[in-house]
């Protein structure tokens, strides 16, 4: 019904009577005229009705000799003053592959896109947002607080190229004096010319939008944006499978049908103890349904299917420096990991709570966000900057690219830190009414995942009570619960009671710590062994760094998202390249590790305690 109304709307409003028209200027031979007119008709027919209606004037097209050493500029140019397009007369010569008919129509479409872009047409919601931003700026004259989205809104001077949503989609970042494309992975663009200047970006994509039948599959989020901008309803038959690459895991690839992704959550790791994690971490969780479950809220139970996406920097050495983080020395990619991997990293290793905040997205927004994230996973290879290109800014950019309303993005984009983003998120319409605070999330066992510190605290409480002493930390337990204390505890335990499990849990930590200390000691005394292990770790780290980004396995012959054949080829290439290296590292590491055999009386004793506890379970 919606499409029928849209069609009627287009029929009446975008009537040919009000539309841009091409006229061919100049004197040409009959053959040249035929070539030119054919191209004009092809483009005229392909142009979106809304574009034709909005331009609604005559554009004069002329063919002339042009200097051929200026990259693409030799093909054609738009003259806004004269309302004319000048094209290279070589296009009129038949059989010149450099000036083919295909290139001619694309060039014409490119130049007409410049006209459309130049007019700086704006939608009502954008005009409204501009007013809000102007007011904000006027009212905040004395304050210099950042308003990132408003800066972008006020920066807009063209219809599409500088539209914040399009800029987010195509990885442009507004600078103080000019815009910069932040994706260094540029070898899979429709044309590298797209990143030569922000104003060339829209015309290049527009060419492919009109004339590449695979455009919707290669850049579905950009296609959706154009369809919305031109009020066009198009359907496409692209593969619905999304293949994710888990860097550093043995099952490195997982393919998920898009329709099994039920929801997308903002996934937040609370601040950690160290200065490094003091701001928390922003991620996204894809709530994926297991194959035999119809998509629905129950998919939240299918933890082993869920995938966590995280924009992160990587280093080949494992060490990070603040200076390098500030100056953009680390690559930035969109990593995928299993839910369990994220949970074990944050909950168990780093003792940080995790919170999932379901995003309230329309089906269209969800679809577009998925498309954009998938494109970024395979095509985004940027540089991490501490303040303006981090885990949060990139999620924010992806949301903007997904068509989230400007007023919502105005609230979210003021924050570049994960904790700040979370607090602002609760105030937006992107969260559900019953999930507006951290406390709301904490009540929901599908959305809140507590750190293992809670287990330690619970165990200490139980043991403290049983022994009648105060144990405030694990160190306290290790110090105060000696042989005698352990015997006392054991005598109070019985099969299956809480004290038994609490003691077991704490004794497990004791055994692990003893073992760690012994290994450290052994390595400190055996420099050769330590050096060998260090070298293996370095090799492993470098290996993982080299293979962090799956997009580097894609061929250069296409652009955007890989098709199923390209995904298959990338996987095969990855396996053939890494198999023997990994095998070799594996064998060497195994040999080295087998040579470490930590033992001590204390460790034997700790293990005996565990065995005794184990017998009572």
């Amino acid at each position: 019904m919606k499409f029928a109304i849209l069609a009627l709307f287009q029929l009446f409003l975008f009537s040919p009577a009000w539309a841009v028209l091409f006229t061919l200027d100049g004197v040409y031979s009959p053959q040249e005229t035929a070539i030119a007119n054919q191209a004009l008709t092809t483009v005229q027919d392909a142009l979106p009705p809304r574009l034709k209606f909005r331009l609604n004037y005559t554009i004069h097209v002329t063919f002339t000799n042009m200097n051929s050493d200026e990259d693409r500029k030799h093909l054609g140019r738009a003259d806004y003053w004269d309302k004319s397009i000048i094209l290279n007369s070589n296009f009129l010569k038949p059989n010149d592959p450099q000036y083919s008919t295909d290139t001619l129509v694309r060039t014409l479409a490119h130049e007409i896109a410049h006209f459309y872009d130049h007019q700086n047409f704006e939608e009502a919601d954008f005009v409204n947002q501009r007013k809000i931003c102007k007011n904000l700026r006027n009212n905040r004259k004395e304050k210099s607080g950042p308003e990132p989205l408003c800066n972008d809104v006020l920066y807009k001077t063209t219809t599409i190229s500088t539209d914040p949503e399009f800029m987010a989609l195509t990885s442009w970042l507004r600078g103080d004096f000019s815009a910069q494309n932040i994706n260094s992975f540029q070898r899979r663009l429709p044309d590298p010319y797209a990143v030569s200047d922000i104003k060339e970006s829209f015309p290049v994509y527009f060419e492919s939008y009109l004339f590449d039948r695979q455009f919707a599959c290669k850049l579905p989020a950009v296609e959706a944006y154009f369809n919305k901008a031109f009020m066009i309803s198009k359907s496409s038959s692209c593969s619905k499978d999304l293949t994710w690459y888990f860097s550093g895991q043995e099952n490195a690839f997982r393919t998920v049908p898009k329709d099994r992704i039920w929801a997308i959550d903002y996934f937040w790791a609370e601040a950690g103890a160290g200065a490094a994690s003091g701001f928390g971490h922003s991620m996204l969780r894809l709530v994926i349904c297991k194959p035999d479950r119809p998509p629905g809220p129950d998919c939240y139970k299918d933890f082993d299917q869920h995938i966590v996406l995280s924009f992160g920097a990587a280093t080949a050495t494992g060490a990070f420096s603040n200076y390098a983080g500030i100056t953009g020395k680390y690559p930035l990619n969109l990593y995928a990991m299993t839910f369990y991997s994220a949970k074990s990293q944050y909950n168990v290793t780093e003792l940080r709570d995790l919170y999932a905040i379901p995003l309230k997205l329309t089906p269209q927004q969800k679809n577009q966000l998925l498309d954009q994230l998938y494109s970024l996973h395979w095509n985004f290879d940027s540089n991490y900057y501490f303040t303006n290109r981090n885990c949060t800014t990139e999620i924010s950019r992806a949301l903007l690219a997904a068509g989230i309303s400007l007023d919502t993005m105005q609230t979210l984009k003021t924050e570049n830190s994960p904790s700040g983003f979370l607090n602002h998120l609760f105030y937006t319409s992107l969260t559900y009414p019953n999930m507006k605070t951290i406390e709301d999330i904490r009540k929901n066992p599908f959305l809140y995942f507590s750190s293992s510190q809670k287990n330690v605290d619970a165990a200490l409480k139980i043991v403290s009570k049983a022994m009648g002493i105060s144990l405030s930390s694990i160190e306290d337990y290790l110090k105060k619960v000696d042989d005698q204390g352990f015997e006392q505890l054991l005598s109070k335990t019985s099969h299956g009671d809480r004290l038994l499990y609490a003691t077991y849990y704490l004794e497990t930590i004791r055994a692990n710590r003893l073992q760690s200390a012994l290994i450290t000691e052994e390595l400190s005394q055996d420099r050769e062994k330590a050096e060998k292990l260090k070298s293996l770790v370095t090799e492993g780290s470098q290996l993982n760094f080299s293979y962090r980004f799956i997009g580097s396995f894609l061929s250069r012959t296409s652009y955007g998202n890989p098709n199923p054949a390209e995904v298959d080829a990338a996987q095969k290439d990855f396996h053939s390249q890494t198999k023997s290296i990994i095998e070799n590292l594996k064998n060497r590491t195994q040999n080295e590790l087998e040579s470490i055999n930590p033992s001590s009386v204390a460790l034997s004793k700790a293990r005996q305690r565990l065995e005794r506890l184990n017998r009572r379970l």
Partner: protein, 110 residues
């Protein structure tokens, strides 16, 4: 650096448990990924190091923690519930408590 090596050694040790089979591959295969140490910035200040291991190791770590939590507090997490459900399908002869015990003790042997 020593700590880093240590973290690796311990991670390697954990994966070689017999329970690796539960995750659908042999313990030997579990070694592969552990060599691929992934360092990912996880905060704007970005110094957190993720030692990325096998999928199985992560599952085991999580299940063990949740099983202990259940035994100590009586609170059963949804992650544990989900795994008990799939555990029951794989091993119908085991009771819920037996499965929890199994999850809990997975880590201890090394």
């Amino acid at each position: 650096m020593k700590k880093y090596i240590l973290a690796t050694v311990l991670t390697l040790g954990m994966t070689s448990t017999a329970f690796a089979n539960k995750c659908g591959y042999s313990s030997d295969e579990g070694w592969i990924a552990l060599l691929m140490l992934s360092s990912i910035v996880s905060a704007p200040t970005g110094m957190t190091i993720l030692v990325s291991g096998g999928n199985c190791r992560d599952e085991i770590l999580n299940l063990r923690e949740d099983a202990f939590k259940y035994k100590m507090t009586g609170e059963m997490s949804e992650v544990l519930k989900a795994n008990i459900e799939s555990g029951k399908k794989a091993k119908p002869d085991l009771t819920e408590e037996q499965l929890v015990n199994k999850f809990m003790s997975m880590q201890v042997e090394d």
